[in-house]
């Protein structure tokens, strides 16, 4: 099924304990589209870049079934630029530079050709921008998922809550779930978020995996215990892209299928961190993906004869 992704396409400068790059392709929609492209087509990108954004990067995504009618190119503008440095634990980072550039004027237009997409991912953007996208849709997609971050909770909480009322699933990390709800317990936080609108909540816990909440059901997905995380940038966006890409491919939004989608999202995130930027995501084979999914399955597989477990 068709999938629309709204998010950033950008340049990043990254420093990790394993090395640094001064200028590499980044942005939430870039990572999400690369990850989703292994599962579904067409993918319809909505983003904004400057004239400095490489044509060959767009071409590479087009070759994977990504459409760009919704990409605004500002010829004399510069693309969004983010620079960050990761600490040794790779879970915390300092933002060094955030140059919005053309992103400051991002006012996304949903092309008519995108109106029949059944799946929609609202990447981490200003809640007002996410809202504007929802307002332009003539029909509600089958599934709307959104990402956000603590920054928007700090400066645009009311609009964020308005957007939440209109989406099916919220993706946040554990710290953001706690900030949004004031609850330390993640099941309690997820319950409060579901009262705000989304029927499904995914709480990402980095190296500890992810939790999916829906009604009274919970699924706990592990992260792959990796010996080396080379560059965590884009892992969350790759997760989101793999997740919704798989849902779009299978066109099944049941809780059971979302569990599988989380494993596929985790698989794409585990590849993403192996090289700088989206480089690893660009070169995957289906055999590699299948082998990695099998690693996840093995990691979680257990057989217990419950009735034999207890003594007395």
């Amino acid at each position: 099924m068709a999938l629309t992704i709204i998010g950033t396409m950008a340049f990043d400068a990254l420093e990790t304990p394993f090395g640094k790059v001064d200028r590499i392709i980044g942005g939430s929609a870039t990572y999400a589209a690369w990850a989703a492209s292994y599962f579904t087509t067409p993918i319809r990108q909505v983003s904004i870049v400057g004239g400095d954004f490489p044509k060959e990067e767009i071409k590479a995504l087009e070759d994977r079934g990504v459409e760009f009618d919704g990409l605004e190119i500002v010829p004399d503008g510069k693309s969004f630029f983010w620079s960050g440095k990761y600490h040794m634990d790779m879970n915390t980072r300092d933002s060094l530079i955030t140059d919005l550039n053309v992103l400051a004027q991002f006012d996304p237009k949903i092309p008519d050709s995108y109106q029949d997409s059944d799946y929609l991912m609202l990447g981490n953007l200003a809640p007002a921008v996410q809202m504007s996208v929802l307002d332009q849709l003539k029909e509600r997609p089958k599934l709307i998922i959104m990402d956000t971050m603590n920054f928007w909770m700090d400066i645009a909480l009311d609009t964020l809550k308005d957007v939440l009322k209109r989406v099916d699933l919220l993706l946040v990390n554990d710290g953001e779930a706690r900030q949004l709800t004031g609850e330390y317990s993640l099941p309690k936080a997820a319950k409060k978020i579901r009262e705000m609108g989304p029927k499904y909540v995914i709480i990402k816990k980095g190296e500890h995996g992810a939790l999916l909440f829906h009604g009274d059901k919970i699924f706990s997905a592990p992260a792959l215990p990796l010996e080396d995380v080379f560059d965590p940038t884009g892992a969350g966006d790759s997760f989101a892209g793999g997740f919704i890409g798989y849902l779009s491919r299978t066109d099944d939004c049941s809780f059971e299928n979302m569990k599988a989608a989380i494993i596929l999202g985790s698989t794409m995130a585990s590849f993403c961190v192996e090289k700088f930027g989206p480089n690893r995501l660009k070169e995957l084979t289906s055999a590699e993906i299948e082998a990695r999914v099998n690693e996840f399955i093995k990691l979680m597989e257990v057989n217990i004869e419950v009735s034999l477990a207890v003594n007395y």
Copy 2:
């Protein structure tokens, strides 16, 4: 099969965000024995208490198949006493008082009647005490697991490393695994620990579950996402007791069965934290345990048609 547990039996004073108790039964061997008693018998306790330790607590454990030939009672001594206060996140705590009392003179004697135990748990004690227990064994048990903590890494690292050479499995939390090895990555830390002796390593991650490492195999067990953790004291010891209790019951030390044992250990830990001290562990029914195990299984259950996952 028979299981020997070496550890503390003690009094605790606890303060959590949910309340406080001035004096409640505690100690690693107490929690481990209660948890293990739901799976196996006999359990053979090796510990030391003062004349102040309640006879009815010992009687209650005897009624569950726990033997006390290896318990030293010092009539005019006082039992080990620990007092702690938990922070809001329940993962961090301050030790307020640590009165060793009779524990300072603990020189465990393994009774002849314990010599045929196939399963041995060395609870978190001074490495020299753990070593003395191993030296007294006429035959090596089928499985020896040990617990330890950062304190012993600080003050008795060499002896700790000597004990490690003689055990099959080490149980530590993530911070301790990192301290012991100087590796941030948990798979790397587990590899280094296995080079120190134990063929199996379990890394406990509190609310994030636990990882089991053996050879090139890894199992990732979730923790139950709990709305309320009432008192985390003893959760790790209940995990260890449930784990080795189940192995002892099934008498199967394969990696596959250890995965099941970790779920049973996690089950007992999840009960432990529901009330102060070991109170919840004292009142469990097999129906409750089976239902909780089924919750864990549901939490991890996922079906993926791997060959259908990838687009191209």
